[in-house]
């Protein structure tokens, strides 16, 4: 909630000050006519009105103080101080007339004290409310000094009004109390000031209306006379008193209405907030269900993709098996042993391709699989297919997740290298083959296929020493596809070392 600015009281639920003013004027008019017709001048009525003004001022002071505390408005704060001082002044005016407090006769007290304390409180209230407007731009901590200044001014006015005559014979315009002529003027100026300078503050609007009313009410006081004065206009003083009561009641009512309007506004705002919250929750609910739906569709799409990929791998594998079966059937019809061997070599290569797809189908993401068990199964199959049971195999591969693009050339390369060892290294059919895939300390990945056989040479394709076999050609192509370099050396057999320049995990 915004505080500290006059805007706290500006909004749609404003108080109709014009209507308040009109009602107050009508009531005042009726009361004034009654007082003047019946010439009401009794001390008891006088005391009732004085007491009412005192109580109303006190209530206004408390209300303004409360508003200022709640909203931080400096204007309400200085107004509260002005009304506080005024309340004290009104108390003096009310109490001084009581016989118990008087040390003179009732008639003397009436003129000396009642009439003598009206002026100071009338001036102090008009000046106080007026200066509060001028002080509204200053911090609230000036309140103490302001209160002291008002009290001192009041005391000074008390002295001055004791020295000045209370009543005079009717003079200019029939005015009997010229010393009070400043009061309606100050109230009128104050009302105008509040009207012009604080357009956005409802408190200021209420004060403005009340000040206008007081300007009028105090005009009647200019014609007030003591009870024993012969005059046609008996009761003007009481009209002024009644006007003061009405003005205070008008201000009280307006301030109360401001509070009520605030409450109404707050209740409506709360209701709107609740509705907004409800709408928000509904929208969140809708969004959530939309997201849940989208999620479900996405996972469905993912499942669909998995299903399709599996299907594709399955088909590829099936086709490879189909080719393998045809090769098997062809082998049976051939008589040439070289041709049969060539086709068996082809079947080994087909098996390597099929195995890659089998591994992919078993992987959770259908994209990558651990190369280690793959190399083991691949090598075992080759040895079982060609060698006897006297060839021992050891496969030591680091765990490495590879995709199709890497696994196929790697699988084919291992197939060729192991096949070479089996074919050439062991004339007596006994021996040992090792397959190693590891990463060296410098980060290079290396594949080593070694045997402990008699040793053989891989013919250099570039030098065209002799027409190379299919295996040799394949090794050459696969190594270059893998961006690798192959070194073959003899060391207790043959060691083929394939160094991968760089390998990026898929």
């Amino acid at each position: 909630m915004s505080s500290s600015s006059a805007d706290a009281y500006s909004a749609t639920d404003s108080v109709d000050f014009g209507k308040n003013l009109a009602v107050a004027f009508i009531l005042f008019g009726l009361g004034a006519i009654g007082i003047l017709i019946w010439q009401v001048q009794s001390p008891i009525f006088h005391t009732i009105l004085d007491t009412s003004v005192f109580l109303a001022s006190g209530l206004i002071a408390l209300l303004l103080w409360d508003i200022s505390k709640r909203t931080g408005q400096p204007l309400a704060w200085f107004l509260a101080i002005a009304f506080g001082v005024l309340t004290a002044a009104e108390l003096v005016h009310t109490m001084i007339a009581l016989e118990q407090l008087s040390w003179e006769t009732a008639a003397e007290a009436e003129v000396r004290w009642r009439a003598g304390t009206w002026g100071p409180s009338a001036y102090i209230s008009a000046i106080g409310v007026g200066t509060a407007l001028l002080l509204r731009v200053y911090p609230r901590r000036l309140g103490g000094i302001y209160a002291m200044a008002l009290i001192l001014l009041y005391l000074a006015l008390l002295v001055v009004f004791q020295l000045l005559p209370r009543y005079m014979l009717p003079g200019f315009f029939g005015i009997t109390r010229p010393t009070l002529i400043g009061v309606p003027l100050i109230w009128a100026a104050t009302s105008f000031g509040y009207w012009r300078l604080e357009k956005n503050s409802q408190v200021a609007r209420a004060v403005c209306a009340s000040a206008a009313f007081l300007a009028l009410a105090h005009c009647f006081m200019l014609f007030s006379q003591p009870a024993d004065y012969p005059s046609l206009t008996v009761g003007t003083g009481m009209v002024a008193h009644f006007g003061k009561v009405m003005a205070d009641l008008l201000l009280l009512m307006s301030l109360t209405q401001i509070g009520a309007a605030d409450t109404a506004r707050r209740l409506r705002a709360e209701a709107e907030l609740i509705q907004l919250n409800r709408n928000l929750e509904q929208r969140i609910g809708e969004r959530t269900s939309e997201l849940v739906g989208a999620n479900a569709r996405l996972s469905q799409a993912l499942e669909q993709r998995d299903l399709l990929l599996r299907e594709v791998y399955h088909r590829v594998k099936n086709n490879l098996q189909l080719i393998d079966s045809m090769v098997t059937l062809q082998v049976r019809r051939l008589t040439d042993p070289d041709a049969k061997l060539a086709l068996k070599g082809l079947r080994r290569r087909l098996f390597a391709l099929g195995l890659v797809h089998q591994q992919l189908m078993g992987s959770s993401d259908l994209k990558t699989f651990d190369v280690s068990p793959f190399l083991k199964e691949l090598s075992e199959n080759i040895i079982e297919g060609i060698g006897g049971r006297d060839i021992s195999l050891s496969v030591t591969a680091m765990p490495l997740y590879v995709g199709l693009d890497f696994a196929i050339p790697l699988g084919l390369l291992v197939t060729e290298l192991v096949t070479n060892s089996l074919k050439h290294a062991f004339p007596d059919g006994k021996g040992r083959i090792e397959v190693v895939l590891e990463r060296r300390d410098d980060g290079t990945m290396v594949l080593i296929v070694s045997d402990n056989g008699t040793g053989y040479d891989i013919p250099d394709v570039a030098k065209k020493e002799k027409v190379p076999g299919l295996g040799t050609t394949l090794i050459d192509g696969l190594v270059s596809q893998l961006k690798a370099v192959i070194n073959v050396r003899r060391m207790n057999g043959t060691v083929s070392e394939v160094l991968f320049a760089q390998y990026e995990a898929p």
Partner: protein, 128 residues
Amino acid sequence: MTALEKAVLIVEDEHVIAMGLAVQIEDMGLTVCGTADTAEDAVAQARLHRPAIILMDVRLRGAKDGVDAAQAIYETVGSKIIFITGSREQKTIDRINQDHPFATLFKPVSDRQLETKVSEAMLAAGQA
């Protein structure tokens, strides 16, 4: 239950693959008593020939698959069934394992794998 024949029934919906398998079986010195490409045909031929071994593909033509056929054959004939499957899905493997398979081979099946399992099955069937 009368004795089983020392023969192999091949259940496979791809005829060329069935022929390839037949050659491999014959190369082992065994007899292929027939090939079937549907579950119904597989059950009928199994009852007719009473083979010691059945090579059973999971995917077949028609509504029923190799697992359905194997169940029926296990209950009536009692042949040793070697599944050959292209799938590695756990769902399929679980279904196969409910059907008392003698062995399960995953495509691609190497010659040596096939030979090993077939001779083991023959031994188990008392036909070695």
